[in-house]
């Protein structure tokens, strides 16, 4: 009888010990999980803060280009022209270059002939295609030309920039070359040099690119002919060629 009791209490003690150990293990595991979870949250918080802080989109642009037709576009051609072509283009975009090579000169002839007006929405979302943010620097230079020398000069710069587009993944083109193109397009060297070297319209360029996304345009070139949208560059080019014949 006494034996049995002691055996019973022995196994009870063992069970209690095991329970105690399990309890300790649980507490330890919760502590480990809790502290690592806190560490992960801190890392995630820092990464998130870096992301949102480095995104300047939407901040007010101190320098805004002049000679624009709207906030982020420039319309070139006679107001009375029966056909309106609207283009979203990035100066670093190779498919835009293809489009300009196929249709560019015919479009410019049609503008001169009063057949069409072209609503240029220039954007710069391909900064990562060069090692020097060529996309946004080139657009800044185009806006410097527009602001100082007017729409015709802008159009010339646009043509020069597509004809000399740097390859994707390259170092792009230095500011000094952008200045040369601007002068070639008809801008004054002394006027555009500080605008180009200072990348003064950078914030406007960011906001223009954001506006494209808000317009639900997700890539370039996006081509509209009299309001009809072509996301396929081939069909868009065909429609533009037909409209400018």
């Amino acid at each position: 009888m006494a034996n049995k009791t002691s055996q019973q209490s022995k196994s009870e003690r063992a069970q209690a010990l095991m329970r105690e150990q399990q309890r300790r293990e649980r507490t330890r595991n919760l502590l480990v999980i809790g502290s690592i979870a806190v560490a992960i949250l801190i890392v995630a918080g820092v990464l998130f803060a870096v992301q949102s802080k480095s995104d300047k989109t939407g901040q007010t642009a101190k320098e805004v280009p002049t000679n624009l037709s709207g906030t982020y576009n420039v319309v070139i051609g006679k107001k009375s022209a029966p056909t309106t072509i609207k283009l979203y283009e990035d100066l670093q975009c190779p498919i835009c270059k293809d489009f300009e090579q196929v249709a560019g000169s015919q479009v410019q002839a049609a503008i001169a002939g009063g057949k069409v007006k072209v609503d240029y929405h220039m954007v710069a979302f391909l900064d990562r295609s060069s090692t020097t943010n060529y996309s946004s620097r080139a657009l800044n230079a185009a806006m410097a030309v527009l602001s100082t020398a007017g729409p015709e000069a802008f159009l010339k710069f646009h043509t020069i920039a597509y004809a000399n587009q740097p390859a994707e993944g390259s170092a792009g083109v230095p500011d000094s070359t952008l200045v040369d193109w601007a002068v070639q397009a008809g801008a004054s060297r002394t006027e555009v040099t500080p605008l180009i070297n200072g990348n003064v319209y950078h914030q406007w360029v960011l906001n223009a690119t954001d506006q494209m996304s808000r317009d639900h345009i997700s890539g370039t070139p996006t081509i509209f002919v009299n309001g009809k949208e072509y996301t396929s560059p081939q069909q868009g080019a065909a429609a533009v060629l037909a409209a400018t014949k």
């Binding site: 990464l47 949102s52 979302f125 954001d210 997700s218 890539g219």
Partner: protein, 166 residues
């Protein structure tokens, strides 16, 4: 064997997430535009989601590579892959053409229909890896083994003592 398959699943999902997160990290504005292009979320949350994406991918990917809280992060990763599959399917069904920035690519793809199918197939494959890890979260070469050597919930059928030594 099962524990080595788990290592492979962790590596596949972890590397994909870390690479995707790293490629997105330098272009926060682009990520926001990317999220907006799907036209699913309300504009009020689009910037926050865009800024959070690379962080979430880096944290999930990093944790899976280390084998840290494997089951919890496999569940999180699975939820994200399901969200991506829904988002891509919705964009596809509505005929949206999205310059998929999944890996920092640019421009509208030459053949968006095919791109959608490829993206969905990839996400389903990754989802299967996650499912494996949710069912069998105990794997070799994982931090979990050091942190929770005796955790019954993590143990799978093969009770392998050597797992503890790793």
């Amino acid at each position: 064997m099962r524990q080595w398959v788990g290592v492979l699943a962790r590596l596949v999902v972890g590397i994909v997430d870390v690479v995707a997160g790293l490629s997105k990290f330098p272009d926060p504005a682009g990520n926001v535009r990317q999220v907006r292009a799907f036209q699913i979320l309300p504009e009020a949350v689009v910037p926050t989601v865009g800024h959070a994406l690379p962080t979430v991918e880096l944290v999930i990917g990093g944790a899976l590579l280390l084998g840290l809280f494997t089951r919890a992060f496999a569940i999180l990763a699975a939820l994200f892959f399901i969200a991506f599959i829904i988002g891509i399917s919705a964009a596809w069904a509505r005929g949206l053409e999205i310059n998929c920035g999944c890996f920092g690519s640019h421009g509208v793809p030459a053949n968006p229909q095919r791109q959608y199918a490829v993206d969905i197939a990839r996400d389903i494959g990754l989802l299967i890896c996650c499912a494996w890890l949710i069912v069998w979260p105990r794997t070799r070469l994982a931090l979990d083994n050091l942190l929770f050597p005796n955790d019954e919930r993590l143990a799978d059928g093969e009770q392998d003592k050597s797992a503890v030594e790793v």
